[in-house]
Symmetry: C3
Subunit: 201 residues, 3 copies
């Protein structure tokens, strides 16, 4: 079941990459590359930092196929993609929820300090989008917009708080992932952002 969500996350990240690349008028190959780095960038950084190489997408072909398929479909139906924006947002949010918790668990398995595990999980979730924006020559959106990485950090904290309780590990995984998702959904719905530190406007 987690594998299915994993694929959904990859699909959502791929679509978000395609949408940014289309906006930059890239050719089909460039679009595929952007979709691919958006989908696997975070996990690749995570695996390199943990020295788990070859990295995950080099050992399991599923990810490269899913990105190729998703990117092709998205390019074909791009004129109708506006209808998809809501479900895209939902997939993307599910994606960062899952990637955060997977990253946290990988850090725990490597024997790292909880704070580092949360940092790893947040990177896994956000770094793909950062590379996407760098390649497209924009300031990464996570530095400019609403609650995004903050949701991942809160999910990571929830994971460690829940681990203290006598709860089954799978539930901890699911609940922590849901914390990420709900924080982000609430933040977007109620336009919550981090406190403005620049005084006016």
């Amino acid at each position: 079941m987690f594998y299915i969500i994993d694929i959904l996350g990859t699909i959502a990240f791929s679509i978000s990459g395609v949408l940014v690349a289309l906006n930059k008028k890239m050719d089909p190959f460039g679009i595929f590359i952007i979709a691919f780095v958006t989908a696997v960038g975070g996990g690749t950084l995570r695996d390199i930092l943990l020295n788990e190489t070859p990295v995950f997408w080099m050992k399991d072909m599923t990810f490269i196929y899913v990105v190729a398929f998703t990117a092709s479909i998205t390019i074909i139906i791009k004129n109708k993609i506006d209808y998809l924006r809501t479900s895209l947002f939902l997939f993307d949010t599910i994606g960062i929820g899952l990637y955060t918790v997977v990253g946290v668990e990988k850090g725990i398995n490597a024997g790292l300090h909880p704070v580092i595990c949360i940092a790893l999980g947040t990177m896994s979730a956000c770094f793909g989008g950062v590379i996407r924006d760098i390649l497209c020559n924009e300031i990464p959106i996570i530095f400019r917009k609403e609650i995004y990485a903050t949701a991942c950090i809160l999910g990571g904290i929830a994971y460690f708080l829940l681990s203290e309780l006598p709860i089954n590990g799978d539930f901890v995984f699911v609940i922590a992932g849901c914390v990420v998702i709900f924080v982000r959904l609430l933040a977007v719905k109620f336009k919550i952002s981090l406190p403005n530190i620049y005084g006016e406007k």
Copy 2:
């Protein structure tokens, strides 16, 4: 003989880095850095992903000397560099041909799936130029121009098709590299590009 082409590839990539850096009015040190990352960036990413560290240019001093020498010469004769553009293009194309096949073979030696090997080869060939353009604050040229990475992918596919035939491995290497080179030469000569997916113009 392959080592000689390897050096030629490094020279060509260095020159292309110097040309971009000169265009940005960088100082001599900046120019050297850009030349260096253009020349070794792709191979460095490849070695990190495969966990072959220290990476190749840390073990063989030749590359750093070749880049330093090439960058110095190019800066000195920069006013005459226009005469060199054709041979530069040729060297660059030989370079991506070689780097593609070297990357593919490194992937095979690491026991990876053919699709991953082709991806590795394409990265080896193209990533240096991507970092060069990011450091110079431009959208990477491979996302905007004619057939480039596509030629690497076709060369990688050719490598695996030829491997099925009863041909000597060295010939497979040479022919696959030539496929990259010819595809790129033909694409530039006849202004072939990937299909336009944006409708008008």
Copy 3:
């Protein structure tokens, strides 16, 4: 004692990251991320290239706490930060001096060639600032400004020259670090830059 300078270097790099991020009107989380990559980016690249993973800040929590504390303080007193610019410049210069020599020594311990060790030390010192500028969508400042990486290279050369003399290793460390610092201080004070290769102004 070196650990204290190490912390001072981390503080200085963090502050420089915060100042750039404030200038881009980032939110508090973005500011923290920029401060963090500025402070640890160079050492992370060094450790990945040397295959010393998990990288240093994943094994010693001090760095992440120092960055968080420094970034918080800097945001709070940002209106008074102009008074700090001189000491910031001094800390930053001490930082690159230290990071250069630490990088050189790590390279020596890994059995690498002196030229590679100097390259490693220079990367350790400069790469954090490069990532900071890329994330903020600017051409990295080391490619545009006065002597910066050049000071690191000269310090690295001094390290190897001094190692030939019958001097205690700790003194070599200190003197080589001071070379970096003095070269940079003198270059900024007397507005020395690399030779202009573009003819007119």
